[in-house]
């Protein structure tokens, strides 16, 4: 069981971290949330199956992030640090700017649009997985995604 848990950790930690970073921005908060999500996974490990781990874990991570966002008061300082990609070695200045704009636009979306874009378009999970992670129905996922992309278009104009 230890070995399996280690495997799950390796397979899904980056996605959980990435999700938490996008939602919370603050890396310390994101770290706490991801750690908590994996602790919960450890506690539930006996009941977990290989196919359930990823959607379960990312759903828990997202919910923990939203809880934290709700508890955050507007005046609380958020240690914002730039997301990875700004220093992408292959990017030119233009590409770097585009990435930053895109990331900023995604982060500025409200929930559940932000999560949906992150999970479906950025992390490339299936629609069914996204539905499980966000606790929405499949039709809802598709509808909200469409709306989310239109919002992004309104914000970004031409990429």
């Amino acid at each position: 069981m230890d070995k399996l848990f280690r495997q799950w950790t390796q397979d899904h930690r980056d996605q959980a971290w990435s999700l938490a970073r996008y939602l919370l921005r603050d890396p310390t908060d994101a770290e706490d949330v991801v750690q908590e999500a994996f602790i919960r996974l450890w506690e539930q490990r006996e009941a977990m199956s290989q196919s359930r781990v990823k959607p379960w874990l990312l759903r828990v991570t997202r919910n923990l992030c939203l809880d934290r966002l709700r508890r955050r008061r507007p005046e609380d300082p958020v240690q914002e640090s730039h997301l990875a990609g700004d220093n992408c070695p292959a990017a030119g200045l233009q590409r770097g700017e585009t990435l930053a704009r895109l990331q900023g636009a995604v982060q500025a979306l409200d929930e559940p649009f932000r999560s949906l874009v992150l999970l479906r378009d950025v992390q490339q999970h299936s629609y069914d997985e996204v539905a499980a992670m966000t606790e929405l129905t499949l039709p809802q996922v598709k509808t909200y995604l469409h709306r989310a992309r239109r919002k992004l278009r309104e914000q970004l104009g031409d990429l």
């Binding site: 930690r13 770290e31 450890w42 995604v106 992004l152 990429l159």
Partner: protein, 146 residues
Amino acid sequence: MTEASDEDEEQWERDLRNALAKLPLEPAPRRLRHKLAAIPRRQRWHWLAGWRPAWAVILMAIPLTLLVVMQQQRLDQQEQALAQQAQQIDDARRELALALSYLDKANEITERKIAEALENGLARPVQDNTRYGLEKPLEITREYQL
């Protein structure tokens, strides 16, 4: 026109999704990786901490229990001592009664003898002025001569 708009829109969405798909995934920092790796080891002992209130109760309960047991032992010993004392008193009462009954008997013998002697004229009463601090003076003289 509408078709073109729709096409534009679809294209835009495809471009967006392509761009989003290319957003780099930030890997988990090293510190987080270490924390996650330590979870199995730490969580094994974590359940003990969760039982802290229970441990506190148990740790308090042990001396309390010992105290109660010792108290009960003390009470049992006291009860035993009291029972022994009660037995001792009972024995002493019997002995005292026995001893005093001989005094009583000696009295009876004496009184009978005096009565006999007086009746037979073998003795005459002698005034006994001695007081022994008794609450009541002796009614019958205690000295007689044969």
